[in-house]
């Protein structure tokens, strides 16, 4: 049956093998300026690309550059950005219809973005959760049985609109550390302290859409497939719908092509889009990464019941990677990270 497997594997992308990085070209250094302005917060990230990546995948983080950043609105009001490491600043609130520009000074060089206007985002009317079986997968694959989640909204008619969807899944963290216990002579798990601690999973694929084929009509977008599995028994999912600008859309589309088709015979050419809307004032040819995105967004939270009965399907049980430590007093701190938080998620129901 190998021949059938061969035919099949081409389509399910399983004939993939890791290779080392020994014959990559010499590393080049680029500046990254990535910023977002929304109705709720501001986020600015300025850094250099990685300096060196070894064949094993180890890398060196570059030294953060000396940076000053300012947001200027359409009336000329300046807001000095407090930090440029990508941490969210909720003291800044953007306004729909207002225009913003980012000015950045990095290691003595001046950069500025094109002016971006915050567009109104249509309401995220509802979320549809639909069970399906992906028969083309192996029965053992986690997403074989699962729930497809769609976002439903209505496009604003009469003008070109561009949208992005983003999902975030919060689950209460059952442990915050897996470590070797000399007393028990094996790897064990340590619960979080405080106990109100959540793991975060976000989408790593770009989901964007324009309304060229559906001006003014319903916007229905497949967002994510959630595997039919437990724990948790009730799966929290937050879906965000953003109204973005054409230049941000084009930039995100280029990121999408980096993940679309990869690992198949129909790969698109790998490409990076430089300078979507931020430029070096003195040297417009300098290649910059990142984008200045000004958007408004609407969100909804949905809980998927993993205990529901689905004929001829059973939820897969996800087991813990080790047992908990026998020392019931032992715990690990819940620290704020990109994949963990102590802040209670929006719409969280215990």
């Amino acid at each position: 049956m190998k021949f059938l497997g061969t035919i099949c594997c081409i389509y399910i992308f399983s004939c993939q093998y890791p290779v080392d990085l020994s014959n990559l070209p010499d590393t080049q250094k680029f500046l990254v300026i990535d910023a977002a302005v929304t109705e709720d917060f501001l986020r600015v990230y300025v850094a250099y690309s990685l300096e060196k990546v070894t064949s094993s995948g180890a890398y060196t983080l570059p030294k953060p550059p000396l940076t000053k950043a300012v947001i200027v609105d359409g009336k000329g009001v300046r807001y000095t950005v407090k930090n440029t490491t990508g941490v969210i600043d909720t003291t800044f609130k953007g306004r729909i219809g207002e225009t913003y520009q980012l000015l950045v000074e990095v290691d003595g060089k001046s950069y500025e973005s094109e002016k971006q206007t915050m567009q109104a985002c249509p309401e995220l009317d509802s979320l549809i959760v639909q069970y399906s079986r992906e028969g083309f997968r192996s029965r053992d694959d986690l997403p074989y049985d699962g729930f497809d989640v769609y976002a439903l909204a209505k496009d604003v008619p009469g003008k070109e609109n561009y949208y992005q969807w983003h999902w975030t899944h919060y689950a209460r963290a059952s442990y915050c550390l897996k470590a070797y216990s000399p007393a028990e002579k094996l790897d064990v798990l340590f619960p979080c302290f405080p106990a109100d601690c959540w793991n975060i999973v976000e989408n790593d694929k770009v989901i964007v859409q324009h309304d060229k084929l559906r001006d003014g009509s319903a916007l229905n977008q497949f967002v994510v497939r959630v595997p039919y599995s437990t724990p948790p028994n009730s799966y929290h999912l937050q879906i965000e719908q953003r109204a973005i600008s054409p230049s941000v859309f084009e930039y995100l589309r280029s990121l999408e092509t980096q993940t679309e088709n990869v690992g198949t015979l129909f790969d698109l050419p790998a490409q990076t889009r430089f300078n979507p809307n931020v430029f070096n004032l003195a040297d417009k040819s300098e290649k910059l990464l990142g984008v200045f995105s000004v958007y408004s967004y609407r969100y909804k939270v949905v809980y998927i019941d993993m205990r529901q009965i689905i004929p001829s399907a059973e939820p897969k049980v996800i087991t813990l990677p080790a047992k908990f430590s026998d020392d019931t007093r032992a715990s690990a701190p819940c620290t704020e990270e990109t994949f963990r938080t102590k802040i209670k998620p929006k719409g969280w129901i215990n």
Binding site: C8, R139, T259, V262, D267
Partner: protein, 806 residues
């Protein structure tokens, strides 16, 4: 000027002298028509010799041959690829033609496996870069998964390559896949593969011969700039019924030839069907538990092809044939592509050809022949997604209609003229997007494109002297892109982008037209009876373009006519070759070198949207290309051990500057390797056949890895790290090599019966090398480590049973 006139005068005198000398010494002509004894089909390329002398003549496409000899008795001998040598003593008194029937001997021990051309045809014809294979030669090559594959077999020839295993189509001397004209019994094929590129679509049992033109392309072919693959179906057997077929692991074949009126009317039908969907279901439902392995995903892969041919010979001078060809593929595939920004989770993909050709061949005299041909090729694709709320159906279609009239005139044994005209009508439906029930997608239809191509061609093959033979050719072609069509008007002095469109113009008549002249030249100089030097030059133009920026094109790829913004692609190829045969025709070797210039080729913008874009001109970046190389081939044609070895050095580069280099150029406006630049290729085949029931073959292939775009660093974007790409094709994947094995057991019972069976046992990729098709970085899987895609990563053992009933 005087000097030039003097040279022309001198050349004229030489030509007259050569002709007169030849006529003065030859009061009689031996004239014959050579046919297949079983099918009555004319044999092209059979070699005629008289009295064991080294001088010879070769039959033309109608099987006719003419040789000047002294009147009286002569020993006539004929040989042809795959046929038993013919020898007879014949009294030549006048030029009355005789018919010689040659017996097909596919089971013969000593046979030619493959040839740059058959037997001594390579030394006789002025054409170079022409390869001919018959079905037997294809069968010698160990097939992948037991499927005989024409395109994969051709890749063993020097100068023919593919982007990788499983890629859709072949690349000839640095050309892209759409730059090859692929004909199946005169009908163009727009997608030559089944299973998205894994197997070629030709019905192998029905094939009589494959001719691959990668160098000298005769003037009768046009419309593509790289190569021509002319696959001819056999003529149906009009004498007796025969049936053959095969049961394989991927597909099953059945081929029948039925004489309807003895010697007058015959039918050929050749079909192939795959049952993979049912095999996968059977495996998952019945065998899975006993084997205890993983379930196989069911992509519902189904394909079939069916070729039918009816031939009618109302008189000895007429041959009328009607050929139809249908192919169909159907799969369910995972989110492999986006259409207008919609990436369906899964989609059903269907595509196929529906072709028809009517041909009338009339022999006015042994000197004059007329060939009329009417062809329609209809290629359709359909992609359908039933995804909730965003379901759609996307259809494309390409209709090609062609009429061709062609004469061949041989005024004497030194000259052969081929001339004719051809008219082609093209109708392209680039994309109809419809929503399915419950979907919010608005329908969108791209304008139908129409084109008309008219061409006149003439070629004159003339033996200037016993050593020097020349073929002059000229093709005069005119192409019109026709309305009704809406044409965008761009801001003057600005690049063509959606934002620089100032207005749109509706045109009902001719949108644009192009005149092109295509000179062709082939010269052969005979150093001695066994060695020749050849020089060739071609100019070719292409008015129909395939727009694809995938590594290998999807079946639903968009085709586009040339218009005011997309000029025809043009290629000039100059090639030179040295060919040598041995006295007993056991060994043959050839060395060819070439240089190719391409103009008006194009690459694509980053993130180009091609599928349903009405202004697709805005996504293209024009540029130019060049390719050069050298090909060496050594061929052992006879004996217990046969085979060949070829080495190719080939380079292919492109330079994409766009119309505004300062903002559009790729790779800094410098030459960079194209996707098919593989400098070194080595192919070898050894076939052992000690007796007629068993044959063992080994095939080895090696090539330098192809270029890919490698990242120059990584950066953090949100929660992931992304690779950074600057220049295109700046890296190279690992080298490719593979060893295959094949064992053919013919008629194991060793008894002469009407039913004869044979087994083909093959191991593809014997040592299981995980050859890379491409490298990629997937942020989903890992941050920095690249992965490779391997199409056939382990040995594939297969067994095919073939049968024959006569």
């Amino acid at each position: 000027m005087n000097n030039a006139l003097h040279h022309i005068k001198y050349l004229g005198i030489v030509l007259c002298f050569c002709a007169l000398e030849s006529f003065a010494q030859t009061p009689c002509y031996f004239v014959a028509r050579v046919t297949d004894a079983q099918t009555g089909e004319a044999l092209h390329g059979a070699v005629l010799k008289m009295d064991g002398l080294e001088t010879f003549q070769v039959t033309d496409s109608m099987g006719r041959v003419r040789m000047a000899v002294k009147c009286g008795e002569h020993n006539v001998s004929l040989s042809s690829l795959g046929y038993k040598p013919y020898s007879y003593r014949y009294s030549v008194q006048n030029d009355k033609p005789i018919v010689i029937k040659m017996e097909n001997i596919l089971t013969q021990l000593e046979e030619i496996v493959i040839s740059s051309q058959s037997e001594t045809r390579n030394l006789e014809s002025p054409a170079l870069g022409v390869s001919i294979m018959n079905l037997k030669a294809v069968q010698k090559l160990p097939p992948a998964a037991g499927e005989l594959d024409v395109l994969r077999s051709l890749q063993s020839l020097p100068g023919v390559s593919a982007v990788g295993e499983g890629a859709n189509g072949i690349n000839i001397r640095g050309g892209s896949v759409d730059q090859n004209l692929i004909l199946l019994d005169y009908m163009p094929i727009f997608n030559p593969t089944h299973l998205l590129g894994l197997f070629s679509i030709f019905p192998t049992d029905g094939i009589r011969e494959l001719q691959l033109y990668k160098g000298s392309i005769p003037a009768r072919y046009g419309g593509r700039t790289a190569g021509v693959l002319d696959v001819r179906l056999a003529e149906p057997n009009m004498e007796k019924f025969n049936l053959k077929g095969g049961i394989g692991m991927i597909s099953n074949r059945l081929h029948a030839e039925v004489p309807i009126i003895q010697g007058k009317l015959g039918l050929l039908s050749s079909s192939r069907v795959s049952f993979n969907e049912y095999l996968i279901k059977f495996y998952n439902n019945v065998l899975l538990n006993s084997l205890g392995k993983r379930r196989l995903p069911n992509n519902k892969p189904v394909f079939f092809d069916l070729a039918n041919k009816i031939s009618w010979r109302p008189t000895n001078k007429d041959n009328i044939s009607l050929t139809s060809y249908i192919s169909h593929d159907s799969y369910r595939i995972d989110s492999l592509f986006s259409i207008a920004g919609i990436v369906p989770k899964q989609a059903d993909l269907r595509y196929g050809h529906n072709n028809l050709a009517l041909r009338w061949n009339h022999y006015f005299s042994p000197k004059f022949n007329l060939n009329l041909l009417a062809v329609q090729s209809d290629y359709k694709t359909s992609t359908e997604s039933d995804q909730l709320k965003t379901g759609f159906k996307f259809d494309t279609r390409l209709i090609y209609q062609n009429f061709k009239s062609e004469i061949t005139y041989s005024p004497n044994s030194l000259q052969r003229i081929n001339a004719g005209f051809t008219v082609t009508r093209l109708k392209l439906t680039p994309g109809d997007l419809n929503s399915v029930e419950g979907s919010s997608i608005s329908p969108k239809y791209l304008e139908v494109e129409k084109g008309l191509e008219a061409a006149f061609f003439i070629s004159d093959e003339y033996e200037l002297s016993k050593k020097l033979l020349a073929e002059f050719g000229l093709r005069v072609v005119r192409f019109w892109n026709l309305g009704p069509v809406t044409v965008p008007v761009f801001e003057e002095g600005s690049p063509k982008t959606p934002s620089t469109i100032t207005s749109r113009v509706n045109i009902n008549g001719i949108e644009s037209g192009f005149n092109r002249l295509e000179p062709r030249l082939a010269l052969r100089y005979k150093i001695n009876d066994l060695s020749v030097i050849k020089i060739g030059y071609n100019r070719m133009n292409q008015f129909l373009h395939m727009l694809s920026n995938n590594s290998t094109p999807l079946p639903s790829v968009r085709w586009k006519n040339s218009n005011r913004y997309i000029p025809p692609q043009q290629s000039d190829l100059i090639s030179m070759g040295l060919f040598k045969d041995t006295r007993l025709h056991v060994w043959e070797w050839s060395f060819e070198t070439y240089y190719r210039w391409q103009r008006s080729i194009f690459d694509y913008l980053n993130g180009a949207e091609l599928s349903i874009n009405p202004d697709v001109e805005t996504q293209l970046l024009p540029g130019k290309g060049k390719a050069y190389g050298a090909e060496l081939m050594i061929n052992k044609k006879k004996g217990v051990m046969t085979g060949w070895m070829s080495y190719t050095y080939a380079r292919s580069f492109q330079k994409i500057t766009g119309e505004y280099p300062e903002i559009q150029q790729l790779n800094g406006g410098q030459w960079y390797p194209s996707l098919i630049d593989k400098p070194h290729t080595l192919n070898a085949l050894v076939n052992f056949q000690t007796e007629k029931h068993n044959a063992i073959s080994f095939t080895f292939t090696y090539s330098t890895g192809r270029p890919y775009t490698a990242p120059v660093s990584f950066y953090r974007s949100g929660v992931r790290f992304l690779p950074i790409y600057t220049d295109r094709n700046n890296g190279r994947i690992s080298d490719y090599h593979r060893l295959d094995f094949s064992w053919v057991i013919t008629n194991p019972s060793m008894k002469e019966k009407r039913w004869e069976g044979s087994w083909i046992f093959t191991v593809y990729n014997l040592y299981g090398r995980k050859n890379a098709f491409s490298y990629f970085f997937n942020p989903e899987y890992t941050n920095f480590r690249p992965f490779k895609v391997s199409v056939f990563p382990s040995p594939i053992v297969s067994l095919t049973y073939n049968f024959k009933f006569e």
